[in-house]
Amino acid sequence: MNNIKKLTSKALFLPIFCMLLVMAANIIYDAANGNFALNFFTISVRNGVLYGRLIDILNRGSEIAILSIGMTLVVSSSAGTDISVGSVMSLAASFCCMLLAGYGTAATTELAVPLLVGVLGGILLACVCGAFNGFLVAYLNVQPMVATLILFSAARAIGLLCCNNLIVYVRNDSFKMFGGYLGFIPTPIVIAAGCILVMAILLKKTALGLYIQSVGINKKASRIAGLNSGKIIFLCYIVCGLMAGIAGIVASSRISSADSNNIGLNYELDAILAVALGGNSLGGGKFNLAGSVIGAYTIQAITTTLFALGVSSDQAPVYKAIIVIIIVAIQAPPFNAWVKRLSAKRALAKGGV
C-alpha cells in the first residue's frame, strides 16, 4: 500500500500512466480480434531495420519530442508559449534545401554545397529566429504569444521566398539519412534521444535548470537575487529555435524535400499540448522535461493507435480530442484533490470500524 502511494505521488506517474492507458487500448483490440494480444508491442528486425508499432511511435513522435524540449524551457522561463516553432521548422527546412540545391533549382540529386553547410545553415537560421523571439520577449517585454506571432506568420513565407515558391527536392542519399536509418535504428529516434540527453545533462549537471525555474517563478526576485533574468529567457528562446531547426531538418529529410506549405503545419499546437500533457503548468515556473517528452510520445501514440484501430480519418480528431480531455482532466488539481478526499474518507471509515 505504501509502495503504491509512493509510486503515485511521483511527478511522472500520471503522464506515464496516461500513455500506458492509451497503448492498453490496443491490447484489448488485438485480443478481441483474435490476434496475438501484444501485437502492438512486438518489435522485430525486418529488412535489416527495426519494425513495429512502438518503433513507429518513437520515430514519428521525434519531431514533436524535440520541439517539446525547447517549448518546455520557454514555457517555464517566460510563462508564455512560442507559437512560431512550426513555421520556423519550415523555414529551416526550406533554407537548408535552398543551400543544398542552389537557389531557384526545383530538384537536384547533386549537392551544391557540402551537406554539413546546408544542415548547419538551416539550424543556424532557426537559432537566429529563436534569438529574434527571445530579444522581443526578454528585452522589449513583448508578450510571448504576440512576439512569436510575427514569425508564426512570416517564417513560412520567408521559406517560400527562399525556395522561389517551389517545392525543392533534394534526392540525395546523404541528405535522406536524417529521416532514414542509422544502422538498423531510424535516425530521428537517435537525434531525438541525443537532444533529450544533452538537454537533460545540461539542466541537471549545471545550475541552468534551477535558474530557469527561478526566473519563471519570479522574474524580479530572481534578478534581485543576482540572476540575469533577461539573459536566461533569451537563452531559452534560442534553444527553442535550435530545436525547431533540428526538427525541421528531420522533417525535411524524411520527404527529401522542402515543402514549405506543409512541414511543421500545426506542430506548435502539438508541442504546447505535449508540455501540458506532461503535467507542466503553462503558467511557468517549475518544469519537468521528461514529462513533456512523454507527453509528446503520448500524442503520437494516440495517432498511431487510431491508425491501428482503423478509425476513419475524418472521425479521428474527435477521438483524439476525447482522449486529450480525459488525460488533462485526470491531471487537473481538482480531480486529484477529489481522489485524495475519497481515499481519506475511506481511511477514516476503516479507522471508525
Binding site: 519494425y51 514519428r60 515543402d259
Partner: protein
C-alpha cells in the same frame, strides 16, 4: 556587453530579412503597376483587333498551379491575337472578387475565373452578365450561380473509373485472381478526393474487389508515408494493390514499403497506382516503381481557347467541357481501356513525354 551587442546584431539581421520580404512585396506591387500600364496600353490597342481576356488565378501554391498559369500565358499571347490581364489572387477570395470587378470596369472581352471558393459568386457574375462579358470558369467549380458560359476542368470521377478499368485489364493480363486494395485518399472534402474515391469504388464494387482500408493522406508525402507505415502493420501480406490519390502520397508510400522490404511496382508483389502525373511521378512510372499514373491536366488554356472561338463565331459552347487527360503506364500490354463505354488509350511513358510534362 559583447553578447548584448550580438543579440542586437541578430535582431537587426532578422529585421533585415523581413524587410527583404516586404521588398519583394513592393516588387509585386510594382508588377501590378506595370500591369496597370499594360492595361491602359491594351485599351489603346483595342482597335488592333486583339481579344482582351481577364484571368483571375487562384495563386501559386503548387507545381500544378504554376503549370496552369503558364499554359494560359502561352496560349493567350499577343502573337496569338490575345491580350491577357493576369491577376494572381494569392488564395484570397476577396482579392479575386475585386479582380473580377476590375475586369468589368476595364470592359474586357472575356473573363476567366479559377474560383478559390465555390460560393458567393452570384452578385459579381450578375454584374458580368449585365456588362455583357462572358465568364469562363476553369478547374474548380462555382456552386451558387450558373451565370457563366462554360466550365472547363477535369472529371475526377472519370480518373477514378479509368484507374479501376485499367486495374481490371491489368490483373487479367497478369493472372491475378484477387484484389485487396488499400487506398490513401487526398484531403477530405476536396473534389479530387471525392471523385477519385467514388470512381474507383464503383469499379471495385462491380468487380467484387476488396478495399481493405481508405484513409486520409492529405495529398502530402509525409501523410502518405505515415498512412502506409500503419497499413503495412495492419494488413501485412494481405494487400496487393495500393491506390494513392496523388503523386506525393505515392512517393511517401514507396518509402514506407521500401523500409519494410515490400516489393512494389512493375516487377513487385504490390501494384502501385497514382494520380496527377507530374514530371517526378512520370519518372517513377518510367523506372517501373509506379504501375500506372492517371493524369490531372493543368493545361486548361487550349480548351478555353476553343470555347472563346465558338463564342466569337456566335456558337453556343457546351456548359461543361472536360479536358483530355492521359493515362500513363510503363508496360505496353494494355493498349486501351473502356471507360464509360468509351475507348481510351493507355500511354507508355517515354523520356520525351517526361520532358514535355509540366
Amino acid at each position: 556587453m559583447k553578447k548584448k551587442f550580438l543579440a542586437t546584431l541578430l535582431t537587426v539581421s532578422m529585421a533585415a530579412t523581413m524587410l527583404v520580404g516586404c521588398g519583394s512585396d513592393d516588387d509585386a506591387k510594382e508588377n501590378d503597376k506595370q500591369q496597370e500600364t499594360q492595361k491602359e496600353d491594351s485599351d489603346d490597342s483595342k482597335g488592333d483587333g486583339l481579344i482582351t481576356i481577364g484571368f483571375a488565378q487562384v495563386g501559386h501554391e503548387s507545381d500544378w498551379r504554376t503549370a496552369s498559369t503558364k499554359s494560359c500565358q502561352d496560349v493567350f499571347s499577343k502573337d496569338n491575337g490575345y491580350d491577357l490581364q493576369f491577376v494572381d489572387c494569392d488564395n484570397d477570395p476577396a482579392v479575386q472578387l475585386e479582380a473580377v470587378r476590375n475586369f468589368i470596369e476595364q470592359d474586357v472581352d472575356y473573363i476567366i475565373i479559377d474560383p478559390i471558393v465555390a460560393n458567393g459568386w452570384d452578385t459579381v457574375l450578375t454584374e458580368c452578365e449585365d456588362a455583357g462579358i462572358p465568364v469562363i470558369v476553369i478547374d474548380r467549380t462555382i456552386e451558387d450561380s450558373d451565370k457563366y458560359v462554360s466550365w472547363v476542368g477535369s472529371n475526377f470521377k472519370t480518373e477514378g473509373l479509368a484507374a479501376g478499368e485499367w486495374l481490371k485489364a491489368y490483373i487479367k493480363e497478369k493472372n491475378i485472381s484477387e484484389v485487396n486494395a488499400l487506398v490513401i485518399e487526398g484531403s477530405k472534402g476536396a473534389s479530387a478526393t471525392i471523385g477519385r474515391t467514388d470512381g474507383f469504388k464503383e469499379i471495385a464494387d462491380r468487380e467484387g474487389w476488396k478495399i481493405l482500408d481508405s484513409q486520409d493522406g492529405d495529398f502530402t508525402q509525409d501523410g502518405g508515408q505515415e498512412i502506409m507505415e500503419s497499413y503495412i502493420k495492419s494488413y501485412e501480406g494481405k494487400f496487393n494493390v495500393v491506390i494513392c490519390q496523388n503523386d506525393n502520397e505515392a512517393f511517401g508510400a514507396m518509402d514506407a514499403m521500401k523500409a519494410a522490404g515490400i516489393k512494389y511496382g512493375v516487377d513487385g508483389d504490390v501494384i502501385l497506382v497514382s494520380f496527377d502525373a507530374c514530371t517526378a511521378g512520370l519518372e517513377r512510372v518510367m523506372s517501373g516503381e509506379i504501375n500506372a499514373d492517371f493524369e490531372c491536366n493543368p493545361l486548361a488554356a487550349p480548351f478555353v481557347e476553343e470555347v472563346i472561338k465558338k463564342l466569337q463565331n456566335n456558337e453556343t459552347p457546351e456548359k461543361e467541357v472536360y479536358m483530355e487527360e492521359h493515362w500513363f503506364v510503363k508496360e505496353d500490354i494494355i493498349p486501351s481501356i473502356e471507360v464509360n463505354g468509351e475507348s481510351q488509350d493507355m500511354t507508355v511513358v517515354t523520356q520525351e513525354i517526361i520532358d514535355a510534362q509540366y
